[in-house]
Symmetry: C2
Subunit: 404 residues, 2 copies
Amino acid sequence: MIKHYCNISQILSLKKAHEKDGRNLLPEDLSIIENASLVFNDDEILWTGRTADLPAEYLKEERVDLTGHCLTPEIVDSHTHLIFGGDRALEYSMRLNGADYEEIAKAGGGILNSMTGTNSMEKHELLSIGRERIERLASYGVGTIEIKSGYGLNFDKEYEVTQIINELKAEFKGRVQILNTYMAAHAIPKSFESSDQYLSEVVIPLLEKLATENIVDAVDIFHEEGYFNTEDVKKLFSKCKQLQIPFKSHADEFNDNKGAKLAANEGALSTDHLLQTTSDGISALASSDTVATLLPGTGYFLGKPQANARNFLDAGVKVSIASDYNPGSCHWDNVLQIAAITAPNLKFNQTEIWSAITLNAAHALGLKSQGAIIPGLAPRFSVFKVPTVHHITYHWGRNFFISI
Amino acid sequence: MIKHYCNISQILSLKKAHEKDGRNLLPEDLSIIENASLVFNDDEILWTGRTADLPAEYLKEERVDLTGHCLTPEIVDSHTHLIFGGDRALEYSMRLNGADYEEIAKAGGGILNSMTGTNSMEKHELLSIGRERIERLASYGVGTIEIKSGYGLNFDKEYEVTQIINELKAEFKGRVQILNTYMAAHAIPKSFESSDQYLSEVVIPLLEKLATENIVDAVDIFHEEGYFNTEDVKKLFSKCKQLQIPFKSHADEFNDNKGAKLAANEGALSTDHLLQTTSDGISALASSDTVATLLPGTGYFLGKPQANARNFLDAGVKVSIASDYNPGSCHWDNVLQIAAITAPNLKFNQTEIWSAITLNAAHALGLKSQGAIIPGLAPRFSVFKVPTVHHITYHWGRNFFISI
């Protein structure tokens, strides 16, 4: 069925940003259309432009009057860990009060806390928690959500969590688009002697099983000292290529392990965090299709320095921002709010910040058919009750999204 | 009538913080009471402690079961400019896109925009806007709100705005406590040749008139190069002392004008912003009762450096945090959310951050009978639907406040 949204105050179309493949974006690449209309069917956008210029053939279609509203490409959160049991509120307070890593671990904190919390929950409980969290993100205007496994950390629970994400994906189909990322390689459980042992005995065998079920959209790995090393990452990426499953990495968060460079050279969808990435990594990203996903919410939540976003933006890298929503290092689930506070502080212009949570975030998930409001792309957009698109990121802490 | 709230999961009482007058606060000065009860009447808190220890005399009182909730001293926003007409969303976008002060002024931006926007609104419109904004702050759990005039910038409109705040104060009485701060000395309108001329012809004559009506709770002035100089500030403070009206200042935001030092030495209630304040100002504050009010929302909103909070905290200064909610430099109205993000980034411990938006914020308004949950103080508190007080600042971007 063809639908027609008319009298939209402004459409933030990102037409030029899309033409520039999300790189080297200027303020005018927002490509705002005033007093606009949008015509679309279930599969694609058919027409957009000023309502006054609407082709006569669409005048007969069902119309929804969106006077006083603005429309943007759909908000995408391309990096979340939202399936976890328990919480880490006390650990957070302890850290504010000066506790170090060891004291927190002694008090039962850290990722092992979330592993225990997740493993102690039954499937129906984790499904219910996941459902509630997806609903909450959707209420902010997030229409596409990537969800990683990674708090099971054993064969059976990682399998179960991946199934849970798959079930949620089916349940939300048509309303929220869910991407299922397998990340058993999130940390190394204490019962394993080495990262390689865990990779060989759990991560890869389970991936092979999941590949036969065809429910994994991408594979992720924590490439960092004390977690998985460069050899591990290469081994996993190689397996992904063999299985024809896209892959990505958490890289260069604590140290410059050349993780971003490796990801770009290997053809990863995205590489994420990138606080320590140096110029060779940035160059490799700029000449690749790999998206650099920054997670500034994590920097704020931990009170730590941020990635130098301008170095990536100025080099022509495709930059995305995601929430990293998780119980330990970023218990903040609203990527639009994170982007709003990031813009003036990490020096994004308006086109860069909007692309980071729409167009480039979609590309970070391999979704090339969305991210701009232009004919031929998928009809994926978010609608806000504001007079201009500038108002969306101007009033911090408020939510103007409306579900139509 | 006596009321009894029972089975409160945790009360964050700030008992020890109150005993220490809000200075040199340690994590344990939060003074959490588990499985608590609170007994109070309209005027004061009568008893608080563990429900198991409740004196028999209170068992007969009307009880409200608050299982699964926590209670804190009332959230106070001690610095807002929430009566303004128009907005500055486009200016905000222009700044993100690299426009400088001059370009923004040329496009009609800056404080003059808000002056025009405010003057073009009739009294009933400004009342309606103010009402809506107060309701929104109240929905976050803010129970006491300071509101400044300062966008009228002429005798008649400043008079009207002060009356508006007074009417809102009466309207919200019993639910939200409003403090009326007269700040005609917010900027110097272009029609005046000097700050002294504006001060002598508008600010002080109107203050004298308002003093006879007894509707002003405090007087504020923008002590900064290009605005009001040290002589102006001394002159206004002196007039306030003569009229027995408390006073405060915006100081040391752009330059170290020794504004904090002056405010402390003159006995101001608070002095606010303080990005450039040096050790002499901090020493003066530490040995005074003047509260140092930091406005980190403004730093984030403008993408600028923040005040060095630890210098103030470590010197034993009473530190408060407020929103600075205004259309230009901080369009962010949720002081609890601002405090949550400030804690790890400006290195506040939990007691310091909670005191900053309760006890010390109340003191910044001269309200010495609230800010902690102890017998004898006013029954002013906020209730949140969370299992522990740690959860309130742990989940960023969410609102757990409930109105009982």
